[in-house]
């Protein structure tokens, strides 16, 4: 029901959509890569934030859209990645090694959290992931020697790439864009791989997959850890872009925003959640300022509206309209 086009690739004409998709991806990438050349520095910074958040939303989409595991605590791994990368950068190792460290730390935490959460299905999964996210935020708040407590880690040095310090909006943007594209590609490859097919099978009928001999809990845990690692990468990019990591980055509201981005964008495509992320960031940053700090109010209302009005998201609506 959720995405016929992706589950039955053999039933549609092969070449033309493939060419069209490749052209669209190339044009989109080019447009994104050239963005600092035609955007003001402030807009470039906003776009960088959108990319960071978009990667978080896309990694969550692997869980929500492909495996059918809606997580309310995905920002925990985002936060762990951000803290690990920032900690590493503050202690002399910035750039790519810091990102890798962030990914590894996030994957480790996701392994521990997932071992508990994935066993419990359905609504228990929602509750447990919510608890994991909140407890991670609390841990970030109280473990002062590593996380800097409620002040967070600030003054994170800019990433360096073979001696080049990336501290301009445009250079930071290109750095983030490169890893955003790599992360998105990794997620896509995972979803279209043989394991990805198993994951969709679990989403549609876990009992049947188990009867077929798949160790579904283990496969789900693998997906959870992978999504956590990509969220950790996004966290590392956050540390590089924002140069500041606070407990709120790991918390409930960030998780909720990521899930909102996925739900608005629709779970049927990979660009949908990124577009949802763009909308969420624009609402939070731009509109939040004009609303005198009432960003959460606007976002809460957005949640309510989305649930009542577009249960399948922007991407799905467009699909339905263009369908004959």
């Amino acid at each position: 029901m959720t995405s016929l086009a992706t589950t039955h690739p053999a039933t549609r004409p092969r070449l033309r959509p493939a060419v069209r998709n490749a052209t669209a991806v190339a044009a989109g990438t080019l447009l994104l890569a050239a963005a600092p050349l035609y955007l003001a520095p402030y807009a470039t910074t906003t776009l960088t934030r959108i990319l960071v958040f978009g990667l978080l939303a896309a990694s969550l989409n692997l869980l929500v859209g492909v495996v059918g595991l809606p997580s309310l605590g995905h920002a925990a791994f985002f936060g762990v990645g951000a803290y690990a990368a920032a900690f590493s950068a503050l202690h002399g190792t910035s750039g790519v090694p810091a990102l890798l460290l962030g990914m590894a730390a996030a994957a480790l935490v996701a392994l521990v959290a997932g071992a508990v959460a994935v066993r419990a299905g359905g609504v228990f999964f929602l509750m447990l992931t919510l608890a994991v996210g909140e407890l991670t935020q609390q841990a970030a708040d109280s473990w002062e020697s590593v996380t800097g407590g409620s002040n967070g880690l600030y003054g994170v040095p800019a990433p360096t790439l073979s001696g080049l310090v990336l501290d301009q909006p445009a250079t930071t943007y290109w750095y983030v864009l490169a890893f955003f594209l790599a992360g998105l590609l990794a997620l896509r490859l995972a979803a279209t791989s043989a394991t990805g097919v198993v994951l969709r099978g679990i989403r549609d009928s876990e009992d049947r997959m188990r009867a077929l001999g798949y160790r579904t809990t283990l496969v789900k845990l693998g997906a959870f850890v992978f999504a956590g690692a990509v969220a950790g990468l996004a966290g590392g990019l956050l540390a590089a872009q924002q140069r500041l990591v606070t407990p709120a980055d790991a918390g409930f509201e960030t998780s909720a925003l990521a899930l909102l981005a996925v739900v608005i964008g629709g779970t049927g495509s990979w660009w949908g959640p990124c577009l949802g992320a763009a909308l969420v960031i624009v609402v939070r940053d731009s509109l939040g300022a004009t609303l005198d700090g009432h960003g959460p109010l606007a976002l809460g209302l957005l949640f309510v509206l989305v649930v009542y009005l577009l249960p399948t998201g922007i991407a799905r609506i467009r699909l339905r309209r263009t369908a004959p």
Binding site: F124, E134, S142, L260, G300
Partner: protein, 295 residues
């Protein structure tokens, strides 16, 4: 023996917190068990109760102001429960995720409205005159409000337990958990049950907020803290039952209180560790009702 006294204080604190948690989580468990709605706005209800206590009684409660506050939180809780029931009714055939997202949106709106109304400062409220000091028993002194809280919360918890497990109203609740359609088929208006459950669950949350105000102090962010504790209690205790959350709440009250006293920096890890340990042994929680009947 100061160590023994500290331990005793931490344990009685844990009992008070545990009973408060039970009252909060019982509402969450009832609403989920009976109406299949995961109400993520439950923490906001608790926080509103705590803010109402401060708004009506100020920093120093008196007995008349406490009485007014009780009336106010019951009225507010009932109204909020009715509203939540109406808002979630159109989604009753949709997925848990969508219902959770709706209540999450409501929780975000509520948190923002509360911080606009009451500011971002901690709104502490002190209990009325007779309960403000400490009592000393055999050299061990303890805040009298917390002792009274243990008593009141135990009474309230017992009333909830007795209502659900022993009365015909409770039988209706339990029957709805077991088979909602059959309850409708024997002639009970499901809309009435739905409204009733939401009102009862919400009043329990706002009352817990009022009782907890002198301990937790109303502040932004308290809503999610309480929501997570209540969720953990419900997950461990088993959804839809009342005995499970009671035991789980008392357990997590001790973990919170003793854990914070012994290992202050690691309290959140300890909470998750306990949760993980219970779920490894009992993946479905302690007392989950089997579909079709009680165990």
């Amino acid at each position: 023996m100061p160590t023994a006294q500290i331990a005793l204080t931490a344990m009685v604190n844990g009992l008070a917190i545990g009973l408060l948690l039970f009252i909060t989580a019982a509402g969450l468990s009832l609403i989920f068990g009976m109406m299949d709605v995961l109400n993520l706005a439950h923490g906001a209800l608790f926080l509103t109760g705590a803010y109402l206590a401060w708004w009506i009684g100020g920093e120093q409660q008196t007995w008349p102001s406490l009485g007014r506050a009780v009336v106010a939180v019951v009225v507010f809780g009932a109204a909020a429960g009715g509203l939540l029931s109406l808002l979630t009714a159109p989604l009753s055939r949709r997925s848990h995720l969508e219902q959770a997202l709706l209540t999450l949106g409501i929780a975000l709106v509520a948190a923002d409205v509360l911080s606009a109304l009451f500011g971002d400062d901690v709104r502490a409220t002190e209990p009325p005159a007779g309960l403000a000091g400490t009592v000393t028993v055999a050299g061990w002194s303890y805040p009298s409000y917390r002792l009274a809280l243990v008593g009141v919360a135990a009474l309230l918890a017992a009333a909830v337990y007795w209502t659900v497990e022993r009365t015909s109203l409770g039988a209706l609740f339990r029957a709805t958990v077991g088979d909602r359609d059959m309850v409708a088929a024997v002639g009970v208006d499901p809309r009435l049950v739905r409204g009733g459950v939401f009102v009862l669950g919400s009043v329990l949350a706002t009352l817990a907020g009022l009782l907890g105000a002198p301990i937790y102090h109303a502040r932004p962010g308290l809503d999610t803290t309480i929501l997570v504790l209540a969720l953990v209690v419900v997950v461990v205790g088993g959804l839809g039952s009342i005995r499970g959350p009671l035991i789980a709440a008392l357990l997590f009250g001790q973990v919170e209180s003793v854990g914070r006293a012994v290992l202050p920096g690691l309290a959140s890890f300890l909470l998750f560790g306990t949760l993980a340990a219970v779920l490894v042994v009992r993946p479905r929680g302690l007392f989950t009702l089997a579909p079709g009947g009680r165990r």
